[in-house]
Amino acid sequence: MTAPLPVRPPEPAAEEAREEAPGQRPPSRLLAPLRQTGQLFALALAVARAVFRRPFQVREFIEQFWFVASVTILPAALVSIPFGAVIALQVGSLTEQLGAQSFTGGASVLAVIQQASPLIVALLIAGAAGSAICADLGSRKIREELDAMEVMGVSPIQRLVVPRVLATMSVAVLLNGLVSVVGTLGGYFFNVIMQDGTPGAYLASFSALAQLPDLYVGELKALIFGFIAGIVAAYRGLNPRGGPKGVGDAVNQSVVITFMLLFAVNMVLTTIYLQIVPPKGG
């Protein structure tokens, strides 16, 4: 029962440990980003799997949905009016010079629905909701609440992360509808009132150039962006480095990482969409 009693560790053992270290050491620091990326994808996979695990946390989902919606609706609406206006004005002035003023409606609406709206939604969700989610999870992590949860046999991913990611996704989709409408109305208003565009031409070009898949892809983008915002926020929140300052850094990083990912993914999605869906006007 009684183990031998080394008062201090035998010296050779210590040397052994030192020799072992280089073998076990993770490869160069250059590969560290890859490890982070891998962990991010692993979390995304784990969340995707946990979505289908019962019991579904309805209450937490509703609470989070309400929270995400309440912090994003107003800013989204307020941002989308000037954004729609700016695009309408810019495109309007451009088309006027080209003598294609009658196509202003189609061009500005497509720009709003396909690009501006999903991005505005995603930026707001990442900035307003994602940062709050990241800070919440991060502070729970450093207070050992997540460990306590795991010890009680409850998976924090299923209990906390899944409802939050689903909330950001569904709010993104719904909010995207709102922003598209508000942005389009804003564009219409500015084009017709400020630039003396004709309402008829605006609507006619709109139906001549735009098609339903444009709306679908906008919603799909919003869904994907919402997922990315939720996952990145959860990933940084679950892995803060050290104490309260680590949580602050994590929030900061989560917003920056989400923004960069959003624009990269948006580029890929747009390229694919333009390749596979034939334009209506062609």
């Binding site: 029962m1 009684t2 183990a3 009693l5 080394p6 008062v7 201090r8 560790p9 053992a13 440990a17 030192r18 270290a21 502070s139 729970r140 207070r143 050992e144 609440e145 460990d147 306590a148 949860m149 795991e150 010890v151 009680m152 046999g153 409850v154 998976s155 209990r159």
Partner: protein, 327 residues
């Protein structure tokens, strides 16, 4: 009855820093064990490794045939329901009231009615002496209360294995004594295997059936309490006496020169024979601890392998009870 926890060859490092290596021990079913160690020897890390929160690089922790280190996450999650872990600062959910905190495991893992949950939770709140504070948020109560609430939460699912991380830190001596008695009473009532990590000498002397000590990246020893309490290993005797003279220094271990100087100065390193304080008994009215009965069988059968001092202490502690049952 509690469940045996078998730890085999566990080694844990953080990066290059080795915390402890090759730790092997068995927590006998239904008995109370204490893990001692100076601050910073990885006692908490050991606790978290047992429950699978941290993954040691080598070794296994076997509970009911499930290896908490390497088994699939699903099995580990399932096995964790057998555990109750009391965190060092309670680790309560900051957004929930004490009642909801303590009811959390019941709501997650059982389909009990709310009235039933209320009854169980209030009972546990009563045990830890927090009646009247159940609607407070964790941020509104003192550290000692948070700790006791953490214990109540660890108890609601009637765990088979209870792990306590420094139950005494932040508690006054009187409350610590109450807590010690509470742990023994609990053990008598639910016969759970318990592991208490602490550096409190009172708890170490009065509560456990078995004791171990971590020092300098090694498990110095693990065995029946008398073995450690009578041990003349320098580390153990220094720690249990709370002296400055000995191998433990301010920063973990002393260098050889200081140690040699101490020895030549002739400081009294053999401070006479130490007495073994009798172990706490369950409060009157509670059943006899089944773990204690099993332990007596186990210890008496391994008498031959124990050092002399420990053997005498064990014989002394059992002498009154060998003929007359409980005192």
């Amino acid at each position: 009855m509690g469940i045996e926890v078998v730890v085999e060859g566990l080694t844990k490092s953080f990066g290059k820093q080795n915390i402890w290596q090759d730790v092997s021990l068995t927590l006998p079913a239904g008995e109370v064990s204490v893990m001692l160690g100076p601050s910073g020897t990885g006692k908490t890390v050991f606790l978290k490794s047992i429950i699978g929160l941290l993954k040691p690089e080598k070794g296994r922790v076997l509970i009911n045939g499930v290896d908490m280190v390497n088994s699939p996450e699903r099995e580990i999650m399932e096995t964790r329901k057998l555990f109750g872990l009391m965190f060092q600062d309670g680790a309560l959910f900051g957004s929930m009231s004490l009642f909801d905190n303590i009811a959390f495991p019941l709501r997650e893992h059982t389909r009990k009615k709310e009235s039933e949950i209320r009854r169980i939770v209030m009972e546990r709140i009563d045990i830890v002496g927090l009646l009247g504070a159940e609607e407070k948020l964790p941020g509104e109560i003192s550290g000692g209360m948070r700790k006791r609430a953490g214990l109540a939460r660890a108890l609601v699912l009637d765990p088979q294995i209870i792990l306590c991380d420094e139950p005494d830190s932040g508690l006054d001596p009187v409350r610590t004594a109450y807590l010690s008695q509470l742990l023994i009473d609990l053990n008598a009532q639910i016969d759970a295997t318990m592991l208490i990590v602490t550096h409190n000498l009172d708890i170490a002397a009065t509560v456990p059936d078995n004791m171990g000590m971590l020092f300098c990246r090694n498990l110095v020893t693990f065995g029946p309490r008398e073995v450690l309490l009578t041990s003349d290993t320098p580390v153990v005797s220094q720690f249990l006496a709370g002296r400055r003279e000995g191998p433990i220094g301010m920063s973990e271990e002393k260098d050889a020169a200081t140690l040699a100087a101490e020895q030549t100065n002739g400081s009294d390193r053999t401070a006479g024979p130490r007495t073994v304080v009798p172990q706490l008994e369950p409060s009157p009215g509670l059943p006899v601890r089944q773990g204690a009965l099993r332990r007596r069988e186990r210890v008496l059968s391994m008498m031959g392998q124990l050092p002399d001092a420990a053997r005498t202490a064990i014989m002394n502690s059992y002498a009154p009870t060998l003929d007359g049952g409980r005192r």
